[in-house]
Every structure is written in structure tokens, then in C-alpha cells.
Amino acid sequence: MSFDNAYESLLGGEDAHWAFGTGFSEALSGVNREFPAGVDREALAAYCLMLGDDALIFSQRLSEWCSRAPELEEDIALANIALDLLGQARMLLTRAGEVLGRDEDALAYLRDEREFRNVHLAEIDCGPGPGGDFAATIARLLVFSSWRLALFSRLRGSADPVLAAIAEKGLKELAYHRDHAAQWTVRLGDGTDESHRRMQAGLERVWPFVDELFATHAVEVTLTGVAVDPASLRSEVDGVLEAVLNAAGLTRPTDTRAARVAGMAGRDGVHTEAMGYLLAEMQHLHRSLPGAVW
């Protein structure tokens, strides 16, 4: 590039130079987007929202660390993970939108809280807010990425070619997320007395939300061959977590399950009190300027 005039290409306006672009059309180019015969489309959309909202809401939480991480290298790493999950969310919301006739932004910004399908683990405050700290953040990342990695590795065989392609692409990302979380879990578990105590407390913070990850939902039952039954992931994920906690010298918390609300939880659109504030912040500008283009 020429260093004499920083502005020289600014007026050109060609889009080819954008690193991000729309972010997903290229990643999945060539994938057949037709709906497989016999698939319940409403259920497929609901399922894409479940997995998409998990990624979107967790990404929103992780990006709260931006400029607040313990070290610059970690600031960059957490932003990377948030960006990966945001990318997964965009692909999944877009797929849901192909059934529902709405785009990714309409789904992210114009749905109300009861319409969000993410698990509670994604939405709770695990730091940098008062609900946690870096250790709780790592505990959540460890559990979430171990679970999602197991889920995506099975989802590669989905009868929906788009879901299969999203899973294939996401797998490498999630393997890195899990590795990053596992390394920090070991470092903190083994490091100092304080870090050990905080890491154990971080696990206790997120553990009541683990059970929900493995609860089979009616939508998943409807979508045989398309969706993954999360109950089938439990032993694999438990094995991974046990190996990491052993290496870190940490104790697996006793299984205390957060109670459901009249039998419902995140997958039914029933959330924790934190969710309303998260959405208020995320959605307010988009909703304040109807008809605006961004």
C-alpha cells in the first residue's frame, strides 16, 4: 500500500476489501439451502433459534470483557471467542429466518425476552459484572464449550445440510474455546491458593445451570435425524470435565440443579432476571430508530 495518502482509496467504495462482510454467506457458499423433505420447518426454526441464541447471548456476555481482561493477550483471546460465537449465531439465526421470513437482525433485535430460546448458562452474569469474576467466566466457558463441541460433532451428521455445514465450521472454533478454557482451569486450579479458591467458586457458580444443557426438549424429539438429543451427550461431556478438573486439582461440585419455573426454562423462553437487562442493552438502539439502516 502507499503510505503517502491514507485516504486515497476511501472513495472507491468497492466492497471486496471488507474483512468481515456479511460474515457467513461466503463461509457457507455452495451449501444446499433447501429444506430436506419431511422436516418440520417450524421445529427446525425453533431448533436453530435455540443453538443460535445460546451463541448470541453468550457472545454478548463474553464481549463485556473487552478492555477489562487480566492481560492484553487474554483480552484478545476472549474477543476472538466472542467473535466466533457471534458468527455461529448469525448463521443459525439466518437459517431460522429462512423459515420465519425474518433476517438475523430482526430475530436478534426485535424478539422479546419470552421468544429467546437460549439456556440460562449463556445469560447469567459470570463477570466482569458483580455476578462473577475471571474464574467464573472460565468455568462457564469450559462447561459451555465442552457441551457445544460434543453437540456440534454429532450435528455434522444432521439431515439439514445447513446445520451440518454450520457444525462442521464451528467444530474447530469450539475445540479452541474448550482448550483455552481447560488450560486456564488448570492454571487457576493449580496456581495460587487464591486462584484455586476462586476457580472452585467459579465452578460452584455455574454448576446449577449444567443440568439444563442435557435436558431433551420437545423440539429435539420432533426433529429426529436433524437435531441432536442433548441427553446423549452427558457421559462424554462429564468425562471431559472430570479429566480437566482432575488435572486442575479441583472438585466437581455436587449436582444441584436450578429448579425450573412451572416446569419451564430457557428453551421454553423462560429466563433469569438478568436476561431482561441484557436484552434492554443489546436491543435499545436498534429499536429506538425504526427504519434506520446500519
Partner: protein
């Protein structure tokens, strides 16, 4: 002997060759460089905050991804630059303490608040634009590691600048409310952007020696004029105006005439009286202090690991 070293240093600099970390250099040169590069690194790190302020509220998922990636790049720039100071014998932890104790400065522009999403675009266009004008000459600066870091940073900054400008172009094609938002943002950021080139040459203390050492390559006023000349066609293409009644083309000079920023406001903000000075430092200090136990744990773990390997 010392004279020989000094002569060789002078010759290297005069011939536009690079000084490398192992080369002899005068103490003043080393100190000036550490100060300048550290201030630049601090600016990148503090600069994450005003834009980071909008990540959680970005109005589309695409804009959220772009903004998060941009702020992440700024952390990366901070890292390259702290690494460049380490080649001169400085220490990142020590420089961070100097920043949060107010003993070293960062670019004063980041003490202004980001009040609307248009500010994200205007910062990309004008603030990153001014930064590029300041930084492009540094790609030829005499200290090798700094020059090489600046080449990479300038490439990324110019990409950020395009993103900012593209956001504004998009907003100007939107609703009247969005156009008003862009103009309001330009009105707030224009003068602070001009201040980024530093005080007028007649009042600038560091310029002369830095120019002789080829650490600095153009004067503040030269760069400011260049920035105005480049920005005007951009503003016209965008459909916004700059809040300067004296701004007009001068046929004789072949350049734009323009007014002077309010230098009293500039000094007030530099000296700590800006809207966000305290907030920016408090934010950085909290992140650093809250993270202390994590850094200690990482060091303790690495030390245990090294002992185990040594014993094996």
C-alpha cells in the same frame, strides 16, 4: 570510543538506515523513544474504551462483529508497541503502572465521550484518519522495531478508517434522524481531531530534537494542514460540514485555510480536566488490579511446572 559510536549512530540516522536493538544509541534517543512508543501503546489501550462503549449496543450483528474486531485490533496494536519498548529495555508492567498512576500520557482525544453510534463511524473516519496522518511517517522512523510495528499498524488503521467511513456513508443513506446523528457527531469530533496533531509548531517543545533523530518527520502544523486538505473532499462526498466558518479553499496557496482549535480546551483536557480522563484511567486501573490474581496464578503455575520438569 564514545565519539566513534556516536558518529556511527549519527551516520546511520542521517543515511536513513535503521537503528536496531543491539546497536549503540544515545541515552536521550532511547528515553525519547520509550516515552513516545509507550504513549502510543497507552493510546491504543485506552482507545479501546470509547469505542468498546458501543459493542454491547451495536445496532446490527454485522456492526457488532466489525466493532468487536476493531477494538480487538487495538489491543493487538498495544501489544506490538509494548513489545517494541521491551527491545529498548522497558517493561510492560512498569509502563502500565506509569499509565494508571498518571505518570505517562496517552492521546488526549480518548478523553472525549462517545455519545451515539455515529461516533463509532466518526472516530474511524476522523480520529483514525488523523492518527494515520501522524503515523504514516513513522513507518520510516529511525528505530527499526518501531518502524516495522508501525507498518503493520498503519495497514490495519487504514482498514479501520474505511470501515468507519463506510458506516457513515450507510447512515447518511438512512433516515433523517441518522443523518442528523452523523452531523452532530462530526460537530463534536472535528476540533478534537485537529488537536491530535499537537500544539502549533511555535509552542511544541519536543519537535526539533525528534526531527533531527528522525523519530519525528513532519511538524505538527504540516500534518494538520495535510489532514484538513484530505478531509474536505471526504466530507463533501459524505454530505456533512465541518463546524469551522474560516474553512475555505485558498487558490493562492493551493490548500485549505482553516481556523484554530480552542487551545485552552486542549490544555484543559491534556491536564486531566476532560469529560472522561478520570473514568478512562479508573477503568484501566480496575482491569489491571482485578486481573492481578490471575497473572500471579499463571506465574505460579508456570514456576511449579518448570520445577516438575527440572526434577524429572
Amino acid at each position: 570510543m564514545a565519539d566513534d559510536l556516536e558518529r556511527r549512530f549519527e551516520r546511520t540516522v542521517q543515511s536513513e538506515a535503521r537503528i536496531e536493538p543491539r546497536d549503540w544509541m544515545p541515552d536521550g534517543y532511547r528515553k525519547t523513544l520509550i516515552r513516545q512508543i509507550a504513549q502510543h501503546a497507552h493510546s491504543e489501550i485506552i482507545g479501546m474504551q470509547p469505542e468498546g462503549n458501543w459493542i454491547s449496543r451495536a445496532p446490527s450483528l454485522r456492526r457488532k462483529a466489525i466493532l468487536l474486531a476493531k477494538v480487538q485490533d487495538e489491543a493487538g496494536h498495544g501489544l506490538y508497541l509494548y513489545s517494541a519498548t521491551e527491545t529498548l529495555g522497558a517493561d510492560r508492567e512498569d509502563l502500565t503502572l506509569k499509565l494508571i498512576e498518571g505518570r505517562q500520557k496517552y492521546s488526549s482525544i480518548f478523553n472525549y465521550p462517545t455519545l451515539t453510534f455515529a461516533d463509532v463511524g466518526v472516530i474511524g473516519w476522523l480520529v483514525d484518519g488523523a492518527a494515520i496522518c501522524n503515523q504514516v511517517p513513522l513507518c520510516r522512523t529511525s528505530y527499526g522495531p518501531y518502524a516495522r510495528a508501525m507498518i503493520r499498524i498503519c495497514k490495519e488503521e487504514s482498514f479501520h478508517q474505511r470501515q468507519g467511513y463506510e458506516l457513515l456513508m450507510t447512515m447518511m443513506r438512512g433516515t433523517q434522524q441518522q443523518r442528523d446523528m452523523v452531523q452532530d457527531s462530526v460537530n463534536r469530533w472535528w476540533w478534537p481531531s485537529l488537536m491530535m496533531f499537537g500544539p502549533p509548531d511555535a509552542e511544541s517543545t519536543n519537535t526539533e530534537q525528534s526531527m533531527a533523530w528522525r523519530i519525528k518527520r513532519d511538524t505538527n502544523d504540516e500534518l494538520r494542514q495535510k489532514f484538513v486538505n484530505m478531509s474536505m473532499p471526504q466530507a463533501e462526498a459524505l454530505g456533512v460540514t465541518f463546524p469551522d466558518p474560516e474553512l475555505r479553499w485558498n487558490d493562492e496557496r493551493g490548500e485549505y485555510d482553516f481556523g484554530q482549535p480552542d487551545w485552552d480546551e486542549f490544555w484543559q483536557v491534556v491536564k486531566g480536566g476532560g469529560v472522561c480522563n478520570e473514568q478512562r484511567i479508573a477503568h484501566r486501573r480496575k482491569a489491571h488490579e482485578d486481573g492481578a490474581w490471575v497473572r500471579e496464578a499463571a506465574v505460579a503455575h508456570a514456576a511449579k511446572h518448570a520445577r516438575k520438569e527440572g526434577a524429572a
